[in-house]
């Protein structure tokens, strides 16, 4: 089963300061944690892809009617916290395992211990059973 584990720019439940206000050591510990988690998932044969996205500052919204010039909106966006920050795509045996990995990712280290970042777990669409 394939899942996307998504995280956005919203508040983390630990209520800690934004990462830009952490000490360099805290930032390094956080990044090392993410790298180690990806490494672990690769070694278990579960990781398909992991990517971080550039920040809301560079985001654009595009709306078009297919005929006239598209409307392109630059930030800042009032709903910036709902924007996707990054994702992991995993291939695992069960939903339980996906939740286990999400829990691990949620407990990434911050200045005051685990940051408790909400991780959205979404199963990816696949192909149907043979006898549908």
């Amino acid at each position: 089963m394939r899942f996307m584990l998504l995280q956005n720019y919203g508040q983390v439940e630990s209520g800690c300061a934004p990462m830009t206000e952490w000490t360099p050591e805290e930032v390094k510990a956080h990044i090392d944690f993410q790298i180690a988690l990806n490494q672990e998932l690769t070694e278990r044969g579960e990781l398909i892809d992991a990517q971080g996205l550039t920040g809301p500052e560079l985001a654009k919204f595009v709306v078009s009617d297919g005929a006239t010039a598209p409307v392109v909106t630059d930030g800042p966006f009032p709903e910036a916290k709902e924007l996707l920050a990054g994702y992991r795509m995993i291939d695992v045996d069960s939903l339980e395992r996906a939740i286990e990995i999400a829990a691990q990712a949620s407990a990434a280290p911050g200045p005051d211990g685990p940051i408790r970042q909400p991780i959205e777990v979404r199963q990816m669409m696949s192909a149907p059973d043979p006898e549908v």
């Binding site: 089963m1 044969g45 291939d91 669409m125 696949s126 192909a127 043979p130 549908v132």
Partner: protein, 425 residues
């Protein structure tokens, strides 16, 4: 067995035999498997450039043995080299017939301690002779991820300490069942594909059929093996008719039956007849009989639904699987009417939860019963919970079509015909 016309086909056929010889000679399944993989890769290049060697199997074994020796020669592997030397000194000139090696290898690769997700790629590589890259591509994961999955599988087998031989008689049937389960999953992966938008990845189904044939060659008396092979052939026979021009799913009722492969059907039916004479009814056999009942019917209306309903009844007794009951409900509805089918769905909510298949079946039966309003709601509920794109599209279209027809009937005004044309597309 006759894929040997191409070097690739020959390599795939020789892969398990070469591995069997190397493991038998040197022990160390995990290392031998790596070495044979390298020998296969070398052969693919060298045989294409220079032509086939006189004895291809001996060539592969020689190259693989050299790789193993190289591997053990490095200082880091001193300990393992000593182990290897020890295993050499114990070298048993085992007279066991070479063709049994394929079965032994499958039983190792489908070890009960492995999850299917790890047993499948290991089987495809060690027994099927596919490369890691080919397997990774088929399952749409990065090659490194697949390589890790395979090496973890081998580590598990190594830790089990199981000798390279057929399991004792008391474990034998269980191990055959594990092998058949893995082959069944490989077939389904190819037929349905649990990943990606493409319905048909026939290479995996073809590989599953080839490997199941080779199991059957070793266990011709086993009715469950025959049942599984029959199930695969009778299902595979419908592949061409199963998708429309744009890759969309075509339900059984709407398939062009002239596209079904009559040769595969004949072979599957003959296998089933043989298996039934051997007595002992197995799950795969019953599923194959359901497939045969569909394949036999000249049109959807000719289908013997009463037979299919009773087959699912038998299967439900054997497995107590709620999904089987879902299928039985459909068959009973076709045989005796939707009311009877809907009654069978009672109580499934607790066991299946909010599963899209339950909503989908209920929707179909409600539609059959003429309760369009509730059918639309159930089709929508099913579409919202679907776990694959094709089914979601199909269910959404069904809901839209039914809702449009309802509106059309309700108003009877202009514009209704266009809605129907769209609906029928």
């Amino acid at each position: 067995m006759n894929q040997t016309a191409t070097p690739e086909g020959l390599l795939r056929e020789l892969a398990p035999r070469a591995l069997g010889v190397v493991v038998r000679r040197y022990g160390h399944f995990a290392d031998a498997e790596d070495a044979v993989q390298e020998a296969l890769a070398a052969a693919a290049t060298s045989w294409t450039a220079d032509g086939l060697p006189d004895n291809p199997l001996a060539w592969l074994v020689r190259v693989a043995a050299r790789r193993m020796a190289d591997q053990y020669r490095s200082d880091e592997a001193r300990r393992r080299r000593e182990q290897l030397a020890a295993s050499w000194s114990l070298a048993r000139p085992d007279p066991a017939p070479e063709q049994d090696d394929t079965l032994i290898l499958m039983m190792m690769c489908c070890h009960p301690s492995l999850t299917p997700a790890t047993a499948i790629p290991l089987t495809l590589r060690a027994v099927g002779g596919l490369t890691t890259k080919e397997i990774a591509t088929a399952f749409l994961v990065p090659e490194t991820t697949m390589a890790q999955r395979i090496s973890r599988a081998k580590a598990t087998i190594r830790a089990s300490g199981e000798p390279f031989s057929l399991p004792p008689p008391d474990q034998f049937p269980g191990r055959v069942r594990s092998v058949l389960h893995v082959l069944y999953l490989v077939f389904n992966e190819g037929y349905a594909t649990s990943t990606g938008p493409d319905l048909a990845r026939s290479d995996l189904s073809g590989e599953a059929i080839r490997l199941t044939r080779s199991v059957r060659a070793r266990l011709p008396e086993d009715s469950e093996v025959a049942g599984l092979l029959a199930l695969m052939l009778l299902t595979e026979a419908r592949r061409m008719a199963r998708t429309g021009p744009d890759g969309e799913l075509v339900p059984l009722a709407e398939q062009d039956r002239t596209q079904w492969d009559r040769l595969l059907i004949a072979e599957g039916v003959a296998l089933l007849a043989g298996a039934r004479q051997q007595g002992q009814v197995s799950e795969y056999q019953i599923q194959a009989r359901v497939a045969a009942a569909h394949d036999r019917a000249a049109t959807h209306d000719d289908t013997d639904w009463a037979e299919i309903a009773s087959l699912y009844g038998l299967l439900e007794q054997m497995t107590d699987n709620p999904m089987v009951r879902l299928n039985r409900a459909v068959a009973v509805s076709m045989a005796d009417g939707p009311k009877q089918g809907l009654a069978i769905l009672d109580g499934l909510d607790e066991r299946l939860g909010d599963h899209h298949r339950l909503h989908a079946v209920r929707a179909h039966l409600l539609e059959m019963a003429g309760d369009d309003e509730r059918a639309v709601a159930e089709f929508r509920a099913a579409a919202a919970r679907a776990t694959n794109v094709r089914e979601q599209q199909y269910l959404t279209t069904k809901a839209a079509r039914l809702a449009t027809d309802r509106t059309a009937h309700g108003t009877g005004g202009p514009g209704t015909s266009s809605g129907r044309i769209v609906g029928r597309g």
